[in-house]
């Protein structure tokens, strides 16, 4: 059953992506600012402008532009960035690894800390650690990643300057990488000094992204765990003579993870969406930072390519979340 279920979900992703493409395309064609006007040097004639319009196909009717663009996209050709004069696909691919590393580290931070907070809160239910956990989640839940980023810059970058607040690596260090996955590569090569440096740059933006998700996970998991702890099967486990720790970890946790994963799936896409702004704040060279730059400079092909990339990423994440839920829940697995 799960196989066919995933096939159906996968097929449903196609119209969603198509919808995204249509909306993006239509939206961007009503941009009032003329992108061509921005890129021409002063003194160019009307002919030059006309020429450029033809080169970028902007003189064609909308429908023609759309079908041409769509068929190009289907072939993996996202066009050429107007501003950077480079292939969009290659541009996105060069920046994507940095964003992925940021998102993965942030997620790992959020899951780990959120999970620990929840378990601690339930284990010491009714005592001070629970109050601390509740207070912490309440605070971190209310404040979004954008503000956390700013707070970190102020506190840890400026007032107590302990961590760098800009970029991915110190620009004074010239380190050669063979791929864009700096973190993974230095880890594999065992270059721990570089790894440490990468981490000092990564930790603030990752923490800013992680905190809200951590709060969501902590609150959701704690609620589900508390709920699971009132279930009869926990009572049965207590009568079997198991300790509280074992019951939480081995009886309740897996049940509690099912609603937690489902509900934090959406929040997880928010984390990925949040990279847009956090990268901007920390001048981190990922696709989010690039996207804001593209919007400001009205770089149509680049914006289109980036939004489609994000959409594909989101859909992939949702599928992954679904898969995890199904793996955890035998009722759905065999349903």
């Amino acid at each position: 059953m799960s196989g066919s279920y995933f096939l159906r979900r996968l097929l449903l992703a196609v119209p969603t992506l198509f919808g995204v493409a249509v909306i993006v395309f239509v939206l961007l064609r009503v941009v009032p600012g003329d992108p061509i006007a921005m890129m021409i040097p002063p003194g160019a004639g009307a002919d030059d402008i006309e020429n450029l319009r033809r080169v970028y196909g902007l003189d064609q009717p909308m429908l023609v532009q759309f079908t041409r663009w769509l068929s190009d996209v289907a072939r993996g050709d996202f066009g050429v960035s107007i501003n950077l004069r480079q292939d969009v696909g290659r541009l996105v691919l060069s920046r994507l690894p940095a964003s992925l590393e940021l998102a993965v580290v942030a997620t790992a931070l959020a899951v780990l800390s959120g999970g620990l907070l929840a378990i601690a809160g339930v284990y010491w239910r009714g005592r001070w650690p629970e109050a601390v956990v509740d207070g912490l989640t309440g605070l971190t839940l209310a404040i979004p990643d954008f503000l956390w980023g700013l707070v970190f810059i102020l506190v840890l970058g400026v007032l107590l300057p302990v961590l760098p607040i800009s970029g991915r690596l110190d620009p004074r260090q010239a380190i050669a990488f063979s791929s864009q996955f700096y973190l993974a590569e230095s880890l594999l090569r065992g270059e721990f000094r570089v790894l440490g440096m990468l981490f000092t740059h990564l930790v603030l933006p990752a923490a800013a992204l992680a905190l809200p998700l951590m709060a969501v996970i902590a609150r959701m998991l704690k609620t589900s765990l508390s709920e699971a702890m009132t279930q009869d099967y926990v009572l049965v486990a207590r009568v079997k003579g198991f300790t509280r720790g074992r019951i939480i970890l081995r009886e309740a946790l897996r049940n509690a993870m099912i609603p937690t994963v489902t509900l934090t799936g959406v929040q997880f896409t928010f984390l990925v969406g949040g990279t847009v702004l956090v990268e901007r704040i920390f001048s981190y060279p990922g696709i989010g930072n690039m996207a804001i730059g593209a919007v400001i400079s009205r770089d149509l092909p680049l914006i289109q390519g980036l939004i489609l990339t994000f959409a594909a990423l989101f859909i992939a994440i949702n599928l992954l979340v679904d898969l995890t839920t199904v793996m955890l829940n035998p009722r759905v697995r065999h349903g």
């Binding site: 066919s4 096939l7 159906r8 349903g335």
Partner: protein
């Protein structure tokens, strides 16, 4: 008033949904036939998954059936859309299983009860509706300030009272009550059931009570319908069905109920096939397709017997009586299947002629009887002779005349309508008891004689029955329909002696245990 024919419902089974296309349909109800008469109370029982709750909602057209017809008050409501149904909804109401979920948590109790009055325009304005609501709440035993409270401020029993008040607010003709006492303690349950019985009696509402608890149904309902996996396995008057359940599932269900009395065998034995109130078991016979001959059809059990036979699917019914003109309406009611004929069972020539004429009979029901209501000594001799001639000789003549007919038609069955007084004499009705005792003895003898040709001979021993014949006897009395149904149930299962009703069952049990004691008790009922 409400009639369902072949009612079916199938819902999409989401779990089995294929890659593409619609989910396959899973049948929930398979062709339910049922009727609910005005003022009648019908219990629907079954275990979880039997479809009883779905049926209840289907009857009120909260679900749209996928097959069959549903007629309410003469209107076919099977395919009606919601706007058309709306005016009818005032006449059919529902009481829900979970009173917490069925009361809008954001409304006060009085508003909840007043709402249907306003919705159906039964109250002039808000104020009138609210004051009517307070009256209704008092009617269901919620006096004082309950109207101003919210549902969550009430106990489970109180909430269920609110549910009842809301349902009866619009004076409906039919109320479906779905497991309304299942979550309640016995003391609360008893209160709600008492309230329900009282309202049913006072307001003349037809009630469909859905429950998994047969005891609850038995206490409240006249008729009962047993469901299993979306089908009706058995239906009949409560007294008859509980006394002699014909379907094995019903028997299992009844035996599984733990009665609050010590019985070590209950938990040790495998379930036995025996039914407490029935003795012996010969060859069973289907009523459906049978050709029946009934005597004494102009009143009481005889009339109901004809109706019961028609409902049970008898192919043909000869309805006889001394005065044939009283039978015209029976023939009209059941169409071509009922044929009336004049017959006085004391006229032996007439009896022989009837047997000659009705050569296709497979089921003979000797119902004709008279009761002089006299003691043995000091009674009118002529009346006593008439009793013997009708009750004993008449039955004997019928058995004798029809035995060859039944033998030719494959054995068939004879049902002799007796009385519990055939087993023990009630001095106040001394001569009647004695004549019936003779007939009881006759039944035993005929049974032995006809065993060879495969004829089932059934003796039906009811307690006091609510007929003209025993109008002067005190309550409780059995409805004649129940006696008729029980008799047919006995035929279906091949039970040779059946005691109908508590009184008869009690006396029979007493006779088996200590006959002298029973005789002593009956001896106290001397003629006035």
């Amino acid at each position: 008033m409400l009639e369902a024919r072949g009612l079916a419902l199938a819902l999409p089974d989401r779990a089995a949904k294929p890659w593409f296309g619609a989910a396959p349909l899973r049948p929930i109800l398979n062709g339910i036939d049922m009727t609910v008469g005005a003022g009648e109370s019908l219990g629907i029982v079954g275990e979880s998954g039997s479809g009883k709750t779905t049926l209840g909602r289907c009857l009120l057209r909260l679900y749209k059936p996928t097959g069959g017809r549903l007629v309410f008050d003469g209107t076919d409501i099977t395919d009606m859309e919601e706007p058309e149904l709306r005016p009818l909804r005032a006449r059919m109401q529902m009481i829900f299983q979970d009173p917490q979920a069925s009361l809008n948590p954001r409304r006060r109790i009085a508003q909840i009860v007043a709402q249907p009055l306003l919705a159906f325009g039964l109250a002039a304005d808000r104020q009138a509706a609210l004051s009517a609501a307070h009256g209704l709440l008092e009617r269901v035993g919620l006096n004082g300030g309950y109207g101003r409270r919210y549902p969550h401020e009430l106990s489970g029993g109180q909430r269920q009272r609110v549910g009842i008040a809301r349902a009866i607010a619009v004076k409906p003709a039919l109320v479906v009550a779905d497991e309304i006492v299942s979550g309640l303690d016995v003391s609360t349950q008893a209160q709600i059931l008492a309230l329900l019985a009282e309202l049913k009696r006072d307001l003349g509402i037809a009630l469909v009570l859905i429950s998994h608890d047969l005891s609850v149904v038995r206490v409240v309902c006249d008729r009962v319908m047993v469901m299993q996996q979306g089908s009706v396995v058995e239906t009949g008057p409560c007294a008859a069905l509980f006394a002699a359940p014909s379907h094995p599932y019903t028997r299992t269900l009844l035996e599984a109920i733990p009665l609050p009395e010590i019985d070590p065998a209950w938990i040790e034995d495998e379930p036995s096939a025996d039914v407490g109130s029935a003795e012996g078991r010969a060859r069973a016979m289907d009523i459906e397709g049978s050709v029946a001959f009934v005597t004494g059809c102009n009143r009481g059990i005889g009339r109901e017997m004809v109706a019961a036979l028609a409902t049970a699917g008898a192919a043909k019914i000869y309805a006889s009586a001394r005065h044939v003109e009283g039978l015209a309406d029976l023939a009209a009611a059941h169409g071509g299947r009922v044929e009336t004929l004049a017959l006085d069972v004391t006229d032996h020539g007439g009896v022989a002629a009837a047997a000659q004429k009705c050569g296709d009979v497979t089921l003979l029901i000797n119902n004709a009887g008279v009761n002089a209501n006299r003691p043995l000594i000091g009674g009118d001799m002529a009346e006593q002779r008439r009793e013997i001639e009708t009750n004993y000789l008449g039955t004997l003549a019928m058995c004798g005349a029809f035995a060859p007919v039944l033998g030719r038609n494959g054995g068939g069955a004879i049902v002799n309508m007796l009385t519990i007084l055939s087993r023990v004499n009630l001095p106040a009705l001394g001569s009647y008891s004695a004549s019936k005792a003779a007939t009881f003895s006759l039944t035993q003898g005929v049974r032995a004689q006809l065993a060879g040709q495969g004829t089932l001979v059934v003796g039906v021993m009811p307690g006091a029955v609510d007929t003209e014949m025993s109008a002067h006897l005190p309550q409780p009395k059995l409805p004649p329909m129940e006696v008729a149904e029980a008799a047919l149930a006995a035929v279906r299962q091949g039970i040779e002696s059946i005691y109908v009703g508590e009184m008869a069952q009690g006396v029979a049990a007493g006779l088996a245990a200590n006959a002298t004691e029973v005789e002593k008790q009956f001896a106290e009922y001397l003629p006035q």
